[in-house]
């Protein structure tokens, strides 16, 4: 197929070598005309890494709100469990990026840099189906949470390659757009912030059902400018029916190429809860032990009081926004995994060698998985009309 014809925007029809031509991977010439998803975006964004990353790396968050939970180290087994999942999650994302770069997927977006927050979150979630369990309104950076919940990483590869075997969307949706009714993971939507308008609904059902199930909703910092974020604040704090919603904002100080500095007059996003009497806190999302304790405390609060809590977690965006910005390593933001590994080494819980071996093993495992997925079938065109309507009421059955 002719890949200089602007109509046929199918990356796979064009040799990717060409795209990777001058100046290393993805230092593309702007005149290239063939493109996968958002290659046009990618073309400019991926090259602006320098500009994007020269902004001084201050960490302006102030611990605010409720008293800080106990500061001592977590139990060693838990530290090791968290570390293990963080490594697996990082390796998974690296594999997904690889897949994208090798043409085994059209678009990558994910969560490298958020593992220190997302793994503890996943471990603390009350996992299950129906209102007695936590409802999860995730955004597109939550692979680590999914792994901590017990997801098989190969399924993420399947979604990346949009195979028919992709259990999250059958090859229909982007990578890291999870959906799993069995665990109350509601379909991740690409639209920024809409999940915050839906979250009060699942929380109402939970409050009525009794029990300890809560609703957890996550999103980024830039997205809080959408009205839906305010909707969630208003609806969760209604005096007539306060709701058990744990609102989470992972603040990486960027929305694609736009720095939050120019757009957000709030000192902290957590402050926005205050006017509504919503307890809130800004935390260091790079410290998994701190995250664990803070999430635990916040969840405890929400589970028992049946009222909302807002956590703002300061995180890094270690491969930029998405494949649209090149998906190349960003070197000047803090890496939570490195920091935690240094701690584990110092505490004598793991050696560098052991950690390297772990990482290598996971990498090999996912390399193998990639091969498996490559051989799996693509969905058939004739299936596009499947599942528009359901004949059974699955969610009520649960």
């Amino acid at each position: 197929m002719n890949c200089t014809h602007g109509l046929l925007f199918r990356a796979r029809d064009c040799p990717r070598e060409k795209e990777r031509a001058p100046g290393g991977p993805y230092a593309l010439s702007l005149s290239d005309e063939s493109s996968g998803f958002l290659e046009t975006v990618a073309r400019s964004l991926r090259s602006t890494g320098v500009v994007l990353s020269t902004r001084p790396l201050v960490n302006p968050f102030a611990l605010s709100g409720r008293p800080v939970p106990d500061d001592t180290a977590l139990p060693p087994e838990l530290q090791l469990r968290i570390h293990d999942l963080m490594v697996r999650a990082r390796v998974l994302e690296e594999r997904l990026i690889q897949m994208y770069k090798q043409g085994d997927g059209y678009f990558w977006i994910g969560g490298p840099g958020e593992e220190a927050f997302n793994v503890p979150l996943g471990l603390l979630i009350h996992k299950g189906q129906g209102p007695q369990f936590d409802y999860l309104h995730f955004h597109y950076r939550q692979s680590a949470t999914m792994l901590a919940l017990g997801a098989d990483p190969i399924d993420s590869l399947r979604q990346m390659k949009n195979t028919a075997t992709d259990p999250y969307s059958g090859g229909r949706n982007f990578s890291n757009h999870y959906s799993k009714r069995e665990w109350n993971v509601v379909p991740v939507t690409s639209t920024i912030e809409t999940q915050y308008s839906m979250a009060p609904g699942t929380a109402m059902a939970q409050k009525r059902a009794g029990g300890k199930g809560i609703t957890i909703v996550t999103g980024g910092d830039a997205g809080t400018a959408e009205g839906d974020f305010a909707t969630c604040l208003v609806w969760s704090s209604r005096p007539a029916n306060p709701l058990p919603v744990l609102m989470i904002v992972t603040n990486n100080k960027w929305g694609i190429s736009t720095a939050s500095e120019g757009q957000h007059g709030e000192k902290t996003i957590a402050d926005r809860g205050r006017a509504f009497g919503i307890e809130s806190k800004t935390i260091d999302g790079n410290d998994p032990e701190r995250c664990y304790r803070e999430i635990q405390a916040a969840m405890e609060y929400v589970r028992t009081t049946r009222k909302p809590f807002l956590i703002e977690s300061m995180v890094s965006r270690l491969y930029g926004h998405s494949s649209a910005s090149g998906a190349n390593p960003v070197l000047d933001e803090g890496d939570c995994l490195k920091g935690f590994e240094a701690k584990l080494e110092k505490r004598g819980l793991l050696t560098r060698a052991k950690m390297d071996a772990m990482r290598a093993a996971y990498t090999t495992e996912l390399q193998e998985a990639h091969k498996v997925v490559r051989a799996e079938p693509q969905p058939d065109g004739s299936t596009i009309f499947d599942h528009i309507f359901q004949t059974r009421d699955l969610v009520r059955g649960g």
Binding site: G130, Y135, D166, P187, S197, T202, A205, D393, L394, G398
Partner: protein, 356 residues
């Protein structure tokens, strides 16, 4: 004879008592008002929401995801236009998850003109709704259908839109078309289920014993059989079409005999009924009051042309609302903006008299 808001109220009551309806909510939906059009008075599960349509539609979807049957009201469909993204998302929950999830929720909203709603309260929603995929869409033109369609929406595992013609809210059932179980006269019924004047804090509704009557979504109704022209309509325009057909038959001494079909549900669509009729008559008029550009009637016309071109005895027609940004308040302005009885009759007459 019950009117349409009473029918809706009774359906909601039956659903909350027998079909697990947990929430009926929206702006002014709960006590003391019971809905801007009084459709939610006296219910056990109704409550007032914040003034925030995105929150209403979002919460409805969230409740549905949690398996909690609910009916959310958007006070006027005119206020739903900032939620089209949420509706699109709601419509792709099952499809986008490849069938893993479903979302039972019903969003009900008054549509159309005819109440002097002025430039921003006279909008229709059928064109916009039918362009969104993944929702079932019902629109009644009489109390019995309102009752039976709403019950079907509520128990459906999919998201549903229930569009209520603003101008038909107080229309009463015609003789023989009453909701089964409503065996008292108007005044008695009103005493039983209309909230009283003044203090309502101690009032409770006395519900008549009405049945589980489910009118299937996707089944139209031939309101008036006829020989010469097929008129396909729904909602507010339907009774006008029926009246126009009756008037014409009378005035022509039976020479013009139009068949009138009430679609009742826009998705799924009872296409077989339309097709069978047009095959017989060879002449068809589609009537609705939404803006005529990119209009659902045009879709129906296109299908007609696709499948029945050589069986047509006259060009198929669409009669719809004017291509204006809204509808002006003054009588003349509204009358000039949406199809009126005389215009509908004229269109049927033209079709009937058309010489191929």
């Amino acid at each position: 004879m019950s009117n349409m808001v009473q029918a809706i109220r009774m359906a909601l009551h039956v659903a909350e008592e027998r079909h697990g309806l947990n929430d009926v909510f929206g702006e002014d939906v709960g006590p003391p008002l019971g809905g801007a059009f009084t459709a939610t008075q006296g219910l056990r599960t109704s409550w007032n929401s914040p003034l925030d349509e995105r929150g209403i539609v979002g919460a409805a979807i969230g409740l549905g995801l949690a398996g909690s049957r609910n009916v959310a009201e958007v006070q006027f469909c005119d206020y739903i236009f900032n939620t089209i993204d949420l509706l699109k998302l709601g419509g792709m929950i099952s499809w986008g998850s490849n069938g893993d999830w479903n979302c039972p929720t019903t969003i009900m909203t008054p549509v159309g003109s005819g109440i002097r709603g002025s430039i921003y309260h006279s909008h229709s929603f059928d064109a916009t709704a039918t362009h969104i995929q993944g929702f079932k869409i019902a629109i009644p033109s009489r109390p019995l259908d309102a009752y039976g369609l709403l019950l079907s929406c509520i128990v459906d595992p999919n998201p549903c839109l229930f569009l209520i013609p603003k101008a038909l809210m107080r229309t009463r059932s015609a003789p023989g078309e009453e909701i089964p179980g409503v065996d008292v006269d108007d005044r008695a019924l009103s005493k039983m289920i209309d909230a009283p004047l003044g203090d309502r804090t101690k009032w409770t509704s006395q519900w008549p014993n009405t049945p589980d009557l489910f009118i299937p979504l996707g089944e139209g109704r031939t309101v008036r059989p006829g020989r010469d022209v097929t008129v396909v309509s729904y909602g507010r325009m339907l009774p006008l079409c029926a009246k126009a057909a009756d008037d014409l038959a009378l005035e022509s001494n039976g020479a013009i005999d139009a068949e009138v079909i009430d679609l009742r549900s826009l998705c799924p669509l009872d296409w077989p009924r339309i097709k069978e009729s047009v095959k017989r008559t060879g002449r068809v008029l589609f009537v609705n009051e939404d803006i005529e550009v990119t209009n659902f009637g045009e879709h129906l016309l296109r299908r007609t042309v696709d499948e029945l071109f050589y069986e047509l005895l006259a060009p198929p027609r669409v009669l719809a609302g004017s291509a204006t940004p809204g509808i002006g308040l003054a009588d003349n302005l509204e009358a000039a903006s949406v199809p009126q009885l005389a215009g509908i009759a004229a269109a049927i007459r033209d079709l009937a008299k058309h010489q191929p």
